[in-house]
């Protein structure tokens, strides 16, 4: 049961081969069995999940089902869930039970999906390894000595470890794509504004975007169909019409122009990873796509630009965690200053504090022009560069990360080395573009991801390319447990 794709589960539920209670129960069993080791979930409410599954079964029985009725889904613990703790991986929100659902959580509820639980993440989504979580690190199901990537590492590990058929994640600088790559699954970061941010705890408002994480492009399309769409309560959500992302999956790749930025294949890219990516590209070429060398000369500036803008926004987004209205409050504050200082000292972890400090500095009087304003100017150049590039090509492809998953603890004391993990993913967020990571091979039994980048609101094209690739390859069907994975 747990080896089925979302598409297969939908069919099985409709055909009454099994019930949602059975499917949900099977995943809950695996969570109980395996998650002690993976630590991919922060909160699981088995009773609530089974109750929701029973309701879904009634709907299925009554012929009243919607797209994902009865499908268990795990949500990253950054999405507010009515009545269920939403911690954001932080001590600060360890006691926080929202009285409301995030828009996307609501959309999954409406379609009848079953909330399996809330997945682990880097604290406030700040990190690339899921090691900064207050609830301890998540381990990579392919090799538990390795990190799963981050910040959506819990969602990636839950899907890779077959503890959930699919999950949601968020991506501010690569937080869906990098863990998808490290865990050998498929992840999509939609165009900025495609999916509502309401009820998603903000990290960097102008970069944050929620997206699906699953085994295949087809499953991602099924989830995106539920997630995408305008939300009048999120002013930055786009009114651009959505399409049924499943209908274009099979389109031919003949004549598709794929841009390969020379900057994404140069120094810093692990050689074996590069080999995997090149052979994946040859597969696309074999299907009729044309590979075109392109250049994104400002790529070198993406890390410094991102690490000004994201911390700047984060520094003020996180001001609301002050111990006054909800969340963690220090014991026995003597006065207001003490309340603020100790609450934030004790409630936030090191990486969060580091980014608040960097962001506060970048916005300070006298530094604003040199840092924040300059970074915004470069951000515009980066976006323009992509726009120019998309005049010549339909999508851009390259590696998701410079190399495969690294060992737990290997970079946790070296913030800059950790930041370099995102060198190929950050620009996509800065430019607001959709990006995907698709399993494309292995390096020493560690998964490698192919990154696909599309034009604004061209998610359908990315899913199409990824799906065609997955029709011809089986990387996405491999699961942890044997050398280079056994086929599902």
């Amino acid at each position: 049961m747990h080896t089925k794709s979302v598409a297969q589960l939908i069919k099985g539920l409709r055909d009454r081969q099994f019930s949602s209670v059975e499917v949900t129960g099977a995943y809950l069993e695996r969570i109980a069995l395996l998650d002690r080791e993976y630590n991919s979930f922060i909160t699981v409410d088995a009773a609530a999940a089974l109750a929701a599954a029973a309701v879904a079964d009634n709907r299925l029985g009554a012929g009243d089902s919607a797209a994902l009725t009865g499908i268990p889904i795990a949500h990253k613990d950054i999405f507010c869930t009515d009545g269920m703790r939403t911690s954001c991986g932080s001590r600060m929100l360890d006691n926080f039970v929202p009285p409301y659902d995030a828009t996307i959580v609501q959309r999954f509820r409406t379609t009848g999906a079953v909330l399996l639980g809330k997945t682990n993440m880097d604290e406030f989504a700040m990190g690339s390894s899921t090691e900064s979580s207050y609830y301890g690190p998540t381990r990579n199901p392919w090799n538990t000595a390795l990190v799963p990537g981050g910040s959506s590492g819990g969602s990636a590990a839950a899907v890779a470890g077959l503890l959930a058929p699919a999950a949601t994640g968020t991506d501010t600088g690569g937080s869906i794509r990098q863990p998808a790559s490290f865990c050998g699954i498929t992840g999509l970061k939609p165009t900025y504004g495609r999916v509502s941010r309401l009820g998603m705890v903000a990290f960097a408002s102008s970069l944050d975007q929620a997206g699906p994480m699953a085994h295949s492009a087809e499953d991602c399309a099924l989830l995106l169909n539920v997630m995408a769409g305008h939300d009048p309560l999120d002013s930055t959500s786009s009114p651009t019409a959505t399409t049924d992302y499943c209908t274009t999956l099979d389109a031919s790749l003949a004549g598709l122009r794929i841009g390969l930025p020379i900057e994404y294949f140069g120094e810093g890219l692990d050689a074996t990873t590069g080999t995997c990516i090149h052979s994946a590209l040859r597969e696309l070429e074999a299907q009729g796509a044309e590979l075109v060398e392109v250049s994104l000369p400002h790529s070198a500036l993406t890390i410094p630009t991102y690490y000004i803008i994201a911390p700047a926004e984060a520094s003020t987004n996180l001001s609301r965690f002050d111990g006054v209205r909800y969340g963690y409050r220090c014991a026995n504050p003597v006065d207001l200053h003490d309340l603020y200082t100790r609450t934030r000292q004790e409630g936030f972890g090191d990486e969060v504090k580091r980014r608040i400090l960097v962001g506060t500095y970048a916005l300070s009087a006298g530094y604003y022009d040199a840092y924040y304003k300059k970074a915004q100017q470069i951000r515009r150049l980066i976006k323009q560069e992509f726009m120019d590039c998309f005049q010549q090509v339909d999508i851009i492809a390259g590696p998701t990360t410079p190399g495969p998953a690294f060992a737990l603890g290997a970079k946790s004391n070296d913030p800059v080395a950790m930041y370099l993990e995102d060198v190929y993913t950050l620009a996509v967020n800065l430019a607001g573009l959709p990006g995907m990571s698709v399993p494309a091979g292995f390096v020493d039994d560690k998964p490698v991801g192919l990154q696909l980048i599309g034009r604004h609101f061209d998610e359908a094209r990315l899913l199409n390319v990824a799906h065609r690739f997955q029709q011809a390859t089986d990387w996405h069907l491999r699961t942890p447990g044997s050398a280079s994975g056994g086929r599902r």
Binding site: C80, R197, L198, L233, S235, T236, S319, R320, T360
Partner: protein
């Protein structure tokens, strides 16, 4: 040395929208604490602001009302600081690109003259909540009902030269925004709050002195007192050869003084930057024209029209155009009775006087304009004298009915029946033979004085109901 004050005002105007600027919560005043605070107002995790279009419309109305440039692309910014009644840890405001640019408007001084004051800018922002320090036994209570209430911060150029001008500016602003219907202008409920920037310079000098900013001045009277106090304080420093410190001071109404705010309260680097949760507000010309076409007649235009159309005095026109309700009331009375000057006089003297005595406003005046018009019509058709009319007005004020009802009920109609009046006049002449002799012996100027005695006697006998003009005519005929 004579010192000239240089004053600029920043007014925080509460806009009269039904809901808050970034959430759907109600803005009504006086609700139980925290009953008008939603998840957005409480800055719960993941909550996002959605701009209230009505607040934008109101800001544009103001901009057009002062002839200002409307920002075609205005941007919201975050102003960051920590305070318990500021739930997000930042206030959403506008910094570099405000919605209203430079403009100006006319203020009226007590001597009847007017001056033009330039407006630097006006921008939209959200209000903070309230910190309540009493009743919590050494702790502080937070009421977030007000958090997110839309404010328009209106910044003037330092064009104001005295406390009286500052008050005139605020009155003119109050009049303008209530005309525009964008604020209730209720000072007691904090709908207009004022910060004063003030410096002194030697009279005739063009250079600017060092300014102090006085916060927390929330009534016309306090603005006047705070400025007078500050002028005195600064001139004493300057006379003594000292230097005024550039600082923020707080006006303490109870002690009638300003004092420096603690440095902790002002030493903020607000780290302004564009609010990423909101898109820039883009306003096109069509929208601006739609708003423009919905503007009412503004105070200055109405004043001019009152002067020209009704021939009112400058003073009357100023007072009567001061509030839209008062102006409408006056015009209704004038139209009803057909005599604008008498209407102006009655509204100004009797009506405003009575309202003042009862501490009421024109908005809840017990006598409707048509009723007052009806009373004036009885003066004009000689049914009653002006003096009797005042009695009738008092009765109307007490709710005893229309002018006609009261006149009939109390038999106050003026006696204009010449035979009845003749009888009274004859009786007065009969009863005052000595005075009649004195009158007849007197020369013309003296007679004019003495005739008043006879008129008085006739009025007394007729209980004030004799038509004074007819009495004069009869006396002139009989005292020969």
């Amino acid at each position: 040395m004579r010192w000239e004050p240089v004053i600029g005002l920043e007014v925080h105007l509460q806009l009269a929208t039904q809901s808050k600027i970034f959430s759907g919560s109600a803005t009504a005043f006086g609700a139980e604490p925290n009953t008008q605070a939603s998840a957005v107002d409480l800055a719960m995790p993941g909550m996002l602001p959605v701009l209230n279009e009505r607040a934008v419309c109101f800001a544009i109305r103001f901009g057009l009302g002062i002839g200002a440039q409307i920002g075609k692309r205005s941007v919201f910014d975050r102003k960051n600081y920590f305070y318990p009644d500021l739930p997000k840890g930042y206030q959403i405001s506008q910094f570099e690109a405000p919605i209203v640019g430079k403009g100006n408007f006319e203020i009226l001084l007590d001597d009847g003259s007017s001056r033009s004051i330039r407006i630097t800018r006006a921008h939209l922002e959200e209000d903070a909540g309230k910190s309540l320090h009493e009743d919590f036994h050494g702790q502080t209570g937070i009421d977030l009902n007000r958090a997110g209430t839309p404010l328009l911060e209106i910044v003037s150029e330092p064009d104001i030269r005295s406390a009286a001008e500052a008050v005139a500016y605020l009155k003119a602003l109050h009049s303008l925004v209530t005309y525009l219907g964008i604020s209730d202008g209720n000072m007691a409920e904090g709908s207009m709050r004022c910060d004063v920037n003030i410096s002194l310079r030697p009279a005739g000098s063009a250079a600017l002195g060092t300014r102090a900013e006085i916060k927390n001045v929330n009534s016309f009277r306090f603005v006047e007192k705070a400025i007078l106090h500050e002028i005195e304080r600064q001139s004493e420093i300057l006379e003594g050869g000292g230097e005024v410190a550039q600082e923020t001071r707080l006006y303490d109404a109870e002690r009638d003084e300003t004092r420096p705010m603690r440095s902790k309260e002002v030493a903020n680097d607000y780290r302004y930057f564009p609010e990423p949760d909101l898109l820039p507000v883009v306003i096109d010309d069509t929208y601006i024209e739609t708003v423009r076409s919905s503007l009412p007649e503004l105070p200055a235009d109405k004043r001019r029209r009152f002067l020209e159309q009704y021939g009112l005095s400058t003073y009357d026109a100023n007072v009567l155009s001061g509030s839209r309700t008062l102006a409408d009331y006056f015009e209704a009375v004038a139209v009803d009775c057909g005599d604008a000057k008498i209407a102006a006089n009655w509204v100004q003297v009797e009506l405003l006087g009575q309202l003042n005595r009862d501490a009421r406003t024109i908005e809840n005046c017990p006598v409707a304009a048509a009723e007052l018009g009806g009373l004036i019509r009885r003066i004009l058709d000689n049914s009653i004298s002006g003096k009797i009319a005042k009695q009738v007005f008092d009765a109307m004020w007490r709710g005893e009915g229309s002018a006609d009802t009261i006149i009939e009920a109390r038999a106050l109609r003026q006696v204009s029946d010449s035979s009845a009046l003749e009888a009274i006049v004859d009786e007065v002449i009969r009863a005052n033979a000595a005075q009649v002799r004195q009158y007849l012996d007197a020369d013309e100027p003296k007679r004019k004085k003495l005739v008043g005695f006879f008129v008085g006697q006739v009025m007394k006998l007729s209980k004030g109901q004799a038509n004074p003009q007819m009495v004069n005519e009869l006396l002139a005929k009989k005292l020969v």
